[in-house]
Symmetry: none
C-alpha cells in the first residue's frame, strides 16, 4: 500500500522477471545445443548458476521450458512481421520484402527454427501442450495472413496473375522452410551438395515464384 512496500514489490517483480529471463536464456542455449531429449534440467540450472529446484519455481516442467522457447521464437517472428504491416501499400516488391523479412528473421534466429518448425516427432509432440501448439500455429497463420494480403494487393493492382493468394502465401512460406530445413538438416549440405549459399538459393526460389506470379504480356 505505502510507497515503500510498493517499491519493494516492484523490485521483486523485476528480479523475478530477470530470473525468469536468465533461466530461459540458459534453457535456450541448452535446448539449442542438445535438443529436448539430451538436455537436462541440471544443464540448465548449471548454466544459469541456480539450484535445480529454483528452475521449478519458474517453470512447471522440462516441457514447459521447451514450449516457452517455442513461444519465444514465434513471438520474435511476429514482431519481425509487424513491420510489414506498416509498409506503404501499392508499391511493387512488397512480397519480396516479406520474403526478405522472413529470411532476416531466420538469419537472426537460426536456432529457433529447429524448435519451432522441426519438432514434429510424435515424442516431442506428445510432450507439447496442445494449447502451445495452437498458439504457435496461430502466430504462423497471422504472419502468413500478412503475406497473403500483400499478394492479394499485387493481384488487385494487376502486378500478379489471379491466383489463390492464400495458397501462394502458404507456398512461399513452405518453400522457405523447406530450403532452410534442407540446409539446417546437415551443415555439409550447403557447400558440398547444394553448391550454393542458402541465401542465394532462397532468392532463386523467390525469383522463380515471383516470375510465376507475374502477369504475362
Amino acid at each position: 500500500m505505502n510507497t515503500g512496500q510498493k517499491r519493494k514489490t516492484e523490485r521483486r517483480q523485476k528480479e523475478q522477471l530477470a530470473r525468469r529471463r536468465a533461466i530461459l536464456a540458459a534453457a535456450r542455449e541448452v535446448f539449442f545445443a542438445k535438443g529436448f531429449m539430451d538436455a537436462t534440467i541440471d544443464d540448465i540450472a548449471d548454466r544459469c548458476s541456480l539450484a535445480k529446484g529454483t528452475i521449478y519455481l519458474y517453470f512447471r516442467s522440462k516441457e514447459d521450458l521447451y514450449t516457452s522457447i517455442m513461444a519465444e521464437g514465434m513471438e520474435r517472428l511476429r514482431r519481425e512481421f509487424e513491420v510489414l504491416k506498416n509498409l506503404p501499400p501499392g508499391e511493387p516488391g512488397l512480397v519480396e520484402s516479406a520474403f526478405r523479412a522472413y529470411i532476416g528473421f531466420y538469419r537472426k534466429n537460426r536456432k529457433y527454427f529447429r524448435i519451432m518448425f522441426l519438432s514434429s516427432q510424435p515424442d516431442v509432440r506428445a510432450r507439447t501442450p496442445q494449447e502451445v501448439l495452437l498458439r504457435c500455429m496461430e502466430t504462423g497463420m497471422e504472419c502468413m495472413g500478412i503475406v497473403r494480403d500483400l499478394v492479394q494487393e499485387g493481384i488487385e493492382r494487376a502486378y500478379y496473375r489471379k491466383v489463390d493468394s492464400w495458397a501462394v502465401a502458404n507456398i512461399l512460406w513452405a518453400s522457405i522452410n523447406g530450403i532452410i530445413m534442407a540446409y539446417e538438416n546437415d551443415p555439409i549440405y550447403r557447400d558440398e551438395f547444394a553448391g550454393m549459399e542458402m541465401e542465394k538459393m532462397l532468392l532463386h526460389s523467390l525469383d522463380l515464384v515471383l516470375e510465376g506470379l507475374k502477369v504475362k504480356k
Copy 2:
C-alpha cells in the same frame, strides 16, 4: 562342402533375413507411432515376438535400428525415382511427372517422412552415424539429380527459361518438403487453417513454379 550343409546354410541365411525383416517391420511401426525417444526396445521385441536380446544380434543399438528405417525410406524413394530415368525424353511435362512421383512416394510412405526429413533435432542427430546421414543425403542428391536433368532438358528444348537447373531441382524438392511438413506438423492444419487439401496445395505450388520457369512469349 556337401550339398546338405549348403542347403542348411542357405536356409539359415533365409531365416536370418526374415528375422531381420521382422525386426525392422516392428521397429518401423513402433518408431512411426512413438518417435525415437518414446519407443523402447521392449516395444519392438514384443511386437515381433522375439526376445530383447535377439534384437541385439541383428542390430547394434536403438540408433542403428532407427537409422536403418531412415535408409529404408531412402531406398524406397530411390526406387520411386528410378522410373523417371526411363521416361521417354523430350516430352513436356516431365518435371510435372517427377513432381507427381514425389507426391506419389509421399502418399505411399507418409510415415517415413518424419524420420527421413524431420529428424534434425540435435539429439537425434547426435545418435545418427555420420555414415548413414551421408548415405541418405546421397540418395536425395541422386533423386534431385534426376529432376535437374529433366529441368535441364526443358531448358535445352526451350520450354523453360535459362535458369540454374540444379537450384530449381532443389527448390522444387524443398517446396514439396516444406508443404508436406506444414501439413504433417499438425493434423488440424489442413482443414482448419490451410483450407485446402495438401495435394491441391502441392499442385498449386507446382503450377506456380512451372509458370515461373516457362519462357515468356
Copy 3:
C-alpha cells in the same frame, strides 16, 4: 516499563497466540486430510494465508507441528475425562459413564484418533520426539487412572468381582480403541462387514465387559 509498552507487548502476545492457533488449525486440517507423509508445509501455509517462513517462526519442523496436533488431541481427551473426577462417587454405572465419555470424546474428535493412536509406524515414530510421546502416554495413563479408580470403587462396593482394576481399565480402553480402529481403518467396514453401527458395537462391548465384571449371585 510504562503502561504503553506493556499494552503493546500484551497485544503482541495475543497476536502471536492467535497466529500460533491459526497455524495449528491449518495443520490439523491438512494432517487430518492427507496424513503426515502427503501433507506439505506449503499446504499448511496456504491454508492459513501465511508465508512458509512464518510457520518456522512458530514451529521448529513439520514433525513439531504434527506432534503438537497429537498433544492437542490428548489435551482434549484429558479435559473430557476431568468431568468424571467430579462425579458423585458410589453410584453404580460410573464405569459406564467413563466409557460413554470416551465414546463422546471420539465422536467429537474423530480425526484426532489416527494421529493419536495410529501413529505407530516406525517412520512416524522416528520423527516424533520421545518427550512428546511420553507426554501423550502420561495423559492416557492419567485418564486410565480415572477409570481404574471407578472400577476399584465398584469392587469395593461389591458391585464387581475382585479383579485387577488397572488391568480392567487398560482392557476397556484398548477394546474401545480396537473397535474404533477397525471401523476407522475402512469406511466400508461398518456397513458391509460388521453389519452394525460402531456405537452399537461399542455398547455391546461395554455390556460384555460389565457383565464379566459383575459379581455372580
Copy 4:
C-alpha cells in the same frame, strides 16, 4: 516341449520364485524396520544384493512391495486360523483356543501387525490399491467368522448367554488388537506403565469377556 526345455523352464520358474522371495524377505525387513516412508528401494535392493532395476522386474512399485507384505501377513493369519476349523466341536474352551491362536499368531508375526492393522494413515491408504485392502479385509472377516462360529456353538450348547455372536467375535478381535496396539505403540508401555506383560493382559481380557459370556446360574 521336450523334457530338456521343460526342465529348463521349471528351473527358471524356481529361480524366479526364489528371487521373488528374496526380494520380499528384504522388503519385509526394511519395511519392518523403517516403515513405508523411510524405506527406500535402494535399501531393499542392497539387502538382497540385487540391482535396483531388478526389483522392478518383480514388483511394479514400492507400494506393490508394501502391499505384498500386507497380503503375506494376512495369509499367515489365515493359516493360523485354519487349524481352528478342525478342532473337535462341542468342547468348552474353544473360544479360548481361538483367542490363543491369535495370540500365537501375533507372537510369531509381531512385525506384521503394524503393516496389517496400523496402516490407516490416509497417506498410506492413498497408496494402497483398494483391491489389496479388500482382500485383507476379507481374510480378516474369514477369521472372525471362525470365531463367531465358535461363540455360536457355545451359545447353542448353553455355555454362553444368548448374545450376538458376530458382535462378540468382532469385540474379541478388536480387544486383542487394541491391547497389542497399546503395547506396540510404545515399547516402554509394557513395563513402565501397564505394569504387566502383554500376554498376561491379553489373558485378563479373555477372562473378562468369557466371564461376561457365561450363563449365570
